[in-house]
Symmetry: C2
């Protein structure tokens, strides 16, 4: 993965936070109002999502959106 | 503006940082590789841009992407 690749950073943070919060993709789908396949694809880094979709995911995870952009070592 | 509206936060941060760096929209367009109209529309909060486009803007402004998501008082 490119270290500064926004898709890779976002998708990894999203997955890590979801797992830390013991949330399933199904639950995140329900809380964010996004389709489960969309959640799954986004976690796999397969989508270049919009800012509004990113915000919905942050709301579903109950974190500040900026936390999803923090670089991972 | 809704305080937690990602588009409003992003567009305002983008404009503030560009002006602080004494950069014109034309220069930001050149540095980010995005069309000048796209830069202008995004600064006006008229576009729900993708994560990759947001990253290009951050690169053009020479800031960390997360700085563009910091809430403004």
């Amino acid at each position: 993965m490119k270290k500064n690749d926004v898709i890779a950073i976002f998708s990894q943070n999203m997955k890590l936070i979801r797992i830390k919060k013991e949330m399933t993709q199904e639950e995140l789908s329900f809380k964010s109002g996004l389709h489960r396949n969309y959640i799954s694809d986004t976690e796999r880094g397969r989508r270049n999502i919009s800012l509004k979709a990113a915000e919905k995911i942050a709301e579903g995870l109950e974190v500040d959106l900026k936390e999803l952009f923090l670089a991972i070592d």
